[in-house]
Amino acid sequence: MSTVERDPFILDRPTGRRLRARDSVVCVFVAALLLLLLQGESIRSTGEKMDPGIQRTAVLAVGEPAGWLADRLPLADAVDDVTSYLSPDDDLTGGGAFNAAPAAGPAAAAGGGTGGGASAPITTDSFDPTELGVNGAKLPQLKTLLVTGDSLVQPLDVQLARRVAGDGVQTVRDAHLGTGISKTGIVDWGVLSTQQAKDRSPDAVVMFMGANEGFPFPGAGGKSIECCGPEWAVVYATRARRMMDTYRRRGAARVYWLTLPLPRDARAQTVARAVNAAIAVAAQPFRSQVRVLDMTSVFTPGGRYRVAQDVSGRETIVRRPDGIHLNDAGSAVATGIVLQRLRADFETLGS
């Protein structure tokens, strides 16, 4: 580490001519104006997807007029056509959107939808042969494991993938950060779950989601159903049940749906309790294929938030500082619980 005579500055190298301060403002505003004209709709939709707060207000203050202007100009579509080949995302073009059906409130939500109805048909796949002790019933092989959800599923997804990699299991990790069942702006989980099941045909699906819930659902007559009463839980459970039905692929796959450890914040706890209640109700018709794994009592016994708990005989921090997510150690605990259940259901998994 030798001493440098003089520390280099960025303008020591050859640069173009110096302009005036006014030119820097002109340059930035020309860029901003072009972006408003070409991407106004995108700015507005980004603002709409943001969580409530001052940043959302500021972005919408610019995005709404820009979006209004962009709606009246054909430029945004042209830009999308030109740049769409660069997009890394798969198009979610399949069916199954939550919002495709007309909003009709919890009563209709509870009764409608393929496979999501209160009176799901009872067929042979409702029963687990091994549970019934049928002679010759063999545990299936786990070849493809889908681990999905929102930010809660990280780093559980990667830990699970590591633990099963030696068993020849192909793990598909598909986390969608900032999304939720009650928040369809970024990702509609109705469409996404349909596409995941179709594209990957997983033998098992691990779902851990709920960090971004609590948004109102559209209800009948243009009214919205606010979180977190029974009406909200009905719609949530209906959507979750539809996803479970999609993932279980008519009995060909097992679904492991993790309940939420209660978060630190009191308001978020109310949402988490509603989500957990909805998950339990949603899974009822599919109990032979859908396992609800209780993370609530593991991490927050007695409904009490705690940062640390005993892990392998040592007091260990299991939550992240945000009071919502599990840290590496907490995820390792959850991974162990999921693996234990996977081993009970599949033949190929070793220790």
Binding site: A21, V25, S87
Partner: protein, 463 residues
């Protein structure tokens, strides 16, 4: 707030326009830019602003005391106190959890049931950069290199939003003089600023995030699932990713500052063309290298105390430099590898002469190898990762875009600088309207490569 986001795109034009409008009225300009910087920082968590305000007030009080005291012992004790308080702040936020866990483990294995209390402490974004700059201010006052600035100048120095969260680590004596008179509105390096912002955006969003998504994150996440060809390519790809991610951030930071009339030191100079470790550290994270040199290596005695003290000083500097990145054994190992390499290089200097190409090949591959514990989630997985390099099997992630992008970035660092510089200078000479149109075009193209997950945080935000 992250640079490549809609929030920042709304924030910056307003701040830039008002900043130049108010520039001549410094008594208004300074509170305005300070407020804007705190708004920028509060976007991550408003409570972090309390931390930065406390660091500002504490260091300013110590600097004033050092400057006013005629007693050398008081001055020395004060600077020691200031450095200790700064390091304690860093220690509580950044290292408490790591050391509490390690010490509890030791106590447990010794059968002593006296665990330290465990707490999940939120890490303020960029705290290491803020603390290092605060140390640089107080120590430079102690050394007589600068006189104490006004409190608002110190607050602006520590919180100026372009460099607030991930550097470059600007020294007080480089930045505070720029605050002492209004920036000249007739001499603004607009073209250079725009060029740097665009280069930084492409590096971060189109290259670093692309490589992370396509190969680095999958392979480093579950190395057991991949054979040697994928593991090898992921190693090169991570070397490119971390360079593009970090240098992309500092390019944008330096470019934004230029548009506001401020000049920052250079932070990267094509580091992967280095043919020695000394050269690598003069090209990689240059502002951290000189900070470690001036505030750690030289105060420890540098290379003045003979062979063994030089070795000791190099190892201490590099291991602490590694630990600066975070509380994990992987960073310590990374620092130790670089320290050992510098020691070996120091011992063989003048005795062994390698051809430059061979030196480059050797250094580059040791640097790539050292990134493995730096990136791996823990040392066990780093070991698994290295072991997979010996397990030949199919290449499942070798796609043309990944291979081309990885090796093109490395090749560009080895290419002569002059043609690229000439191209950049021609771009910088464009009319401001053309520069603005170019900026919009590049932003549109780069934005199209962003996944629905949005732009991941810069790697160095966590440091």
């Amino acid at each position: 707030m992250v640079f490549p986001t809609v929030q920042f795109a709304v924030f910056f034009p307003i701040v830039l326009a008002l900043s130049w409008a108010l520039m001549r009225r410094q008594n208004v300009w300074k509170p305005f830019v300070l407020a804007a910087s705190y708004v920028f920082y509060a976007a991550a968590n408003p409570l972090f602003c309390v931390m930065i305000a406390a660091v500002t007030v504490g260091n300013q009080a110590c600097a004033q005391l050092i400057h006013r005291s005629p007693d050398a012992r008081v001055r020395k004790r004060t600077v020691v106190l200031a450095v200790a308080l700064n390091l304690a702040t860093l220690g509580v936020f950044k290292y408490y959890g790591f050391f509490a866990t390690e010490i509890n483990g030791l106590l447990d294995s010794a059968g002593l049931g006296l665990p330290l209390p465990l707490a999940a402490i939120a890490l303020p974004v960029g705290i290491s950069f803020i603390i290092f700059q605060a140390i640089s201010y107080t120590v430079d006052v102690y050394r007589g290199l600068i006189t104490p600035a006004t409190t608002i100048d110190v607050a602006l120095y520590l919180s100026f939003f372009p460099h607030l969260v991930a550097g470059p680590i600007v020294r007080a004596r480089e930045f505070i003089p720029q605050l002492q008179s209004p920036r000249d509105p007739r001499k603004v390096a607009v073209g250079a600023g725009v060029a740097l912002i665009l280069i930084g955006l492409v590096k971060k969003v189109a290259i670093a995030d692309f490589l992370a998504r396509e190969i680095v994150d999958p392979v480093f996440g579950v190395p057991q699932a991949y054979a040697a060809p994928d593991v090898l390519l992921a190693s090169y790809a991570y070397a490119v990713q971390i360079f593009c991610d970090f240098s992309g951030y500092t390019d944008i930071a330096i470019g934004l500052a230029l548009l506001m009339g401020f000049v920052f030191p250079q932070n990267f100079d094509r580091p992967y063309r280095a043919a020695s470790f000394g050269e690598f550290w003069r090209r990689w994270h240059m502002t951290l290298s000189r900070f470690l040199r001036d505030f750690l290596y030289i105060p420890l005695g540098g290379n003045r105390g003979g062979k063994w003290k030089t070795i000791r000083n190099l190892m201490i500097t590099m291991v602490l430099g590694g630990l600066w990145h975070g509380a994990a054994w992987g960073f310590v190992l990374w620092g130790a590898i670089h320290g050992t390499a510098l020691v070996v290089e120091h011992q063989f200097r003048g005795k062994v002469k390698l051809p430059r190409w061979l030196g480059w090949l050797l250094i580059f591959h040791i640097v790539v190898l050292a990134w493995i514990p730096f990136r791996a989630p823990d040392l066990d997985l780093a070991g698994v990762y290295v072991a997979r390099l010996a397990d030949w099997g199919p290449a499942t992630l070798w796609t043309a875009p990944v291979v081309i992008v990885t090796f093109l970035v490395i090749a560009l660092q080895l290419a002569p600088a002059r043609p690229m510089d000439a191209l950049r200078v021609r771009f910088e000479a464009l009319h401001p309207v053309a520069l603005g149109a170019s900026m919009a075009t590049v932003i549109l193209l780069v934005a199209a490569t962003v996944s629905s997950q949005g732009v991941p945080p810069f790697i160095y935000f966590a440091f």
